[in-house]
């Protein structure tokens, strides 16, 4: 089995699923910043939308992290952790929390990750207005999670499932951010904190992050802009205009 992957939360989710199942797999790093996932070969052979992760299992190629983990949960039902509830009603609730992750949680969590981790990694400027808006909206969403996790230990009920699995990677990135407000979204909520701490101690998660945190090292290395960002140009042209108007030189 091969996992073509990058550094985002979706890639960690796929790895997490593989480790929960105790499966051996080869990692093929795809440098999306360098455009490696947008080459004609990648689009034709792996994912026409030019994104990672992509799982190869024999002849089967799958993309979209939630399709990948669903495949692993079904195909390897008998090995490792059971990631799908047996009861059909509980399984429907799990599906619901996967959708909640996609539609309610992910839009704001991914904005935070893009603004506070990915853009610095690319040498681009953070939009702090966008960060504040996302924090506020995510706070409302997390109130609902807090209530849910007060009723049950995991999102689908009594046991860890795919629904919980897909939340840990983005939360892991959120907790590594320098913005106190972001970490506070989690730590100010005791039920969510307890849920996160339980998941972080899972052996499969420890295997997932042992090499996965190098994005933060790479971010530090890439702090020098690899291209001029918009603010540099704006300051230059404002300075020139001011000089011309006031006659200063």
């Amino acid at each position: 089995m091969k996992l073509h992957c990058g550094l985002t939360a979706e890639n960690l989710a796929a790895k997490f699923g593989l480790h929960e199942k105790g499966l051996d797999f080869e990692v093929v790093f795809v440098d999306w910043v360098a455009g490696e996932s947008k080459t004609k070969a990648f689009l034709a052979n792996f994912n026409p939308f030019g994104q990672v992760p992509v799982l190869e299992d024999g002849d089967l190629k799958l993309f979209e992290s939630k399709a990948i983990t669903r495949y692993l949960a079904e195909q390897y039902r008998d090995v490792g952790t059971d990631l799908l509830p047996n009861d059909p009603k509980e399984r429907a609730i799990m599906s619901m929390w996967m959708e909640i992750n996609t539609n309610q949680f992910h839009p704001f969590a991914s904005t935070l990750i893009r603004e506070l981790i990915i853009k610095p990694y690319q040498g681009l400027a953070t939009d702090f207005t966008s960060v504040q808006e996302s924090e506020m909206k995510l706070s409302e969403v997390l109130n609902i999670y807090e209530a849910r996790l007060g009723e049950f230990p995991y999102l689908a009920g009594e046991s860890f499932s795919l629904a919980d699995l897909h939340h840990l990677p983005p939360i892991h990135y959120m907790l590594r951010m320098e913005e106190e407000g972001v970490k506070d979204l989690i730590y100010s909520r005791p039920n969510i904190t307890a849920w996160v701490e339980k998941m972080k101690s899972r052996p499969a998660w420890l295997k997932t992050v042992v090499k996965g945190d190098h994005i933060f090292e790479l971010t530090k290395q890439r702090r020098l802009p690899i291209q001029f960002d918009a603010s540099c140009h704006e300051l230059t042209s404002v300075a020139q205009t001011t000089t011309m108007v006031t006659g200063n030189n």
Partner: protein, 213 residues
């Protein structure tokens, strides 16, 4: 069967997804109209059904759900033997199921965010007396064109998005496509031959006709 209730609004695309699945399965259900204009979806009684304050919400006996794509998946599995099969032909074939799952993720991540912005600009804003922002329309149409190019290539190989039979993946697209066919964005569908055929197929289905008035 008697215990199915849908709490929603007939103009809401997510509500329509659920209604499509129920009609495809010939299931009896009670439709409870939620007064969106009056803000009913943000009031306590509805929030008890969906704390995120969005339609639809759903009940089948003592099971309560929300999120349209979770509801349709539940219906497809729970009523697998009835009406139209909304899962792949060999539903026990995990690889086939996973390919359908990819299509469902693509609809949710690649198609819907862009398509719904186009519906919002060209349909819902007008209903509220606001004007369409043509710059947004142009930007989003460019993104949708790229997605539909991928669909065109896919549909050259298969009759439907997940294979040779109609599945949830196709169904999830229908309500938003219905809205876009009433806007200039329709051209993006009609100028791609296989996409155009697929759109005609999925919108002419009896279940689609029931909700696409």
């Amino acid at each position: 069967m008697a215990g199915i209730k849908v709490f929603g609004h007939p103009a809401s695309a997510p509500t329509m997804r659920v209604l499509l699945a129920l009609h495809e399965k010939n299931l009896d259900f009670e439709f409870v109209h939620v007064d969106l204009m009056g803000g009913e979806h943000k009031k306590e009684a509805f929030l008890a059904r969906n704390p995120f304050g969005q339609v639809p919400a759903f009940e089948d006996g003592d099971l309560k759900l929300f999120e349209s794509r979770a509801i349709t998946q539940y219906i497809a599995h729970r009523y697998e033997g009835q009406g139209t099969n909304l899962l792949p032909a060999d539903s026990k074939n995990i690889a086939q199921y996973s390919i359908m799952a990819i299509g469902m993720q693509v609809e949710a991540h690649q198609f819907e965010p862009v398509a719904s912005k186009l519906v919002s600009e060209q349909v819902f804003k007008l209903k509220k007396g606001l004007t369409t922002d043509q710059a947004v329309v142009a930007e989003e149409e460019a993104k949708l064109a790229k997605v539909l190019d991928v669909y065109e290539a896919r549909l050259k190989e298969f009759k439907y998005l997940a294979g040779d039979t109609f599945t949830l993946t196709d169904l999830h697209h229908i309500p938003t496509i219905k809205y876009l066919l009433g806007t200039p964005t329709k051209k993006l569908f009609t100028e791609r031959p296989r996409v155009s055929e697929w759109v005609a197929e999925i919108t002419k289905r009896p279940a689609s006709q029931k909700i696409l008035q």
